[in-house]
């Protein structure tokens, strides 16, 4: 599993927030990590003590594109288009070419989004090309806060 990211650089998240503003008219402007709505009856924010569940979470977070997608979707209210998520990834990978963008869309539709749907993290409407996060995944977000993904231009694609 790919866990070679440095930890404890949480403060550098501001770069993610900045990129959100560039994403287009349909994107919200919520600040990352500030006022994420949570369900009243959601008591799942504690530690994950089931071994398989832990592995599933780290498997989910093992690809930088899924980490970017989850972070971004956590800031969104309502549905988000696949194109918006792809824009976020292309922006952070630093190569906004047509070829790269097409491959990002393919990887989202054929890999990352079905996997996130399988994990009950999102609802993914393939026909409409829209995604909605089901609940605010507090424990997944807390794991995400341990890694610094502000520069993913060197990640393998």
């Amino acid at each position: 599993m790919d866990l070679n990211h440095p930890v404890a650089e949480v403060q550098s998240y501001s770069a993610v927030t900045i990129s959100i503003e560039l994403a287009g008219p349909s994107c919200g402007t919520a600040e990352y990590g500030t006022t994420m709505p949570t369900k009243v009856d959601d008591n799942s924010s504690g530690s994950i003590d089931d071994g398989q569940a832990v592995s599933a979470v780290f498997n989910l977070l093992s690809h930088h594109r899924r980490r970017v997608a989850i972070r971004y979707l956590a800031t969104q209210v309502g549905t988000t288009t696949v194109a918006d998520v792809a824009d976020q990834i292309a922006l952070l990978e630093g190569q906004h070419t047509n070829d790269r963008y097409a491959r990002i869309c393919v990887s989202l539709v054929h890999n990352h989004l079905p996997m996130m749907e399988d994990a009950a993290l999102i609802e993914f409407d393939r026909d409409q090309g829209v995604i909605e996060m089901r609940d605010q995944p507090a424990e997944i977000i807390s794991h995400l806060e341990l890694v610094n993904d502000t520069d993913i231009s060197e990640e393998s694609v």
């Binding site: 498997n59 097409a102 491959r103 393919v106 054929h110 890999n111 090309g129 393998s156």
Partner: protein, 117 residues
């Protein structure tokens, strides 16, 4: 969402001897899993987004790791994964070569996969 002008699998050729479409995966521009999808979209003349999600057939992370995390040394190209997808047989070698066999050439595996797309 789909950009038709976007990209085709680079250097897609048909090898008449092997009766397979062959492409070499380029790890500077993409991964084996996206290359497989782009190849098949081109071969079957469908939009990439209309193809059945690859995730439901094989874990694309695993497919990508066979090339990315291949062992070093003389055995670096000995790993391979073969699976069926969209009635085609796809073989991904750890040296980055991807081969797609139409059903007529390797159609001896009927019934292994449905074709519900």
């Amino acid at each position: 969402m789909t950009r038709d002008d976007a990209s085709s699998a680079k250097s897609l050729t048909f090898d008449p001897e092997e009766r397979a479409y062959v492409a070499e995966f380029d790890n500077t521009t993409g991964s084996p899993s996206t290359t497989v999808i782009l190849m098949i979209a081109e071969i079957t003349e469908q939009s990439e987004t209309d193809l059945k999600p690859l995730y439901h057939v094989i874990d694309p992370d695993v497919l990508d790791r066979i090339v990315r995390d291949r062992p070093s040394g003389p055995d670096h190209n000995k790993r391979r994964i073969e699976f069926r997808y969209q009635d085609l047989t796809i073989r991904v070698l750890s040296n980055g070569v991807i081969k797609v066999y139409p059903p007529s050439t390797r159609g001896n595996q009927k019934g292994l996969e449905d074709s519900d797309t």
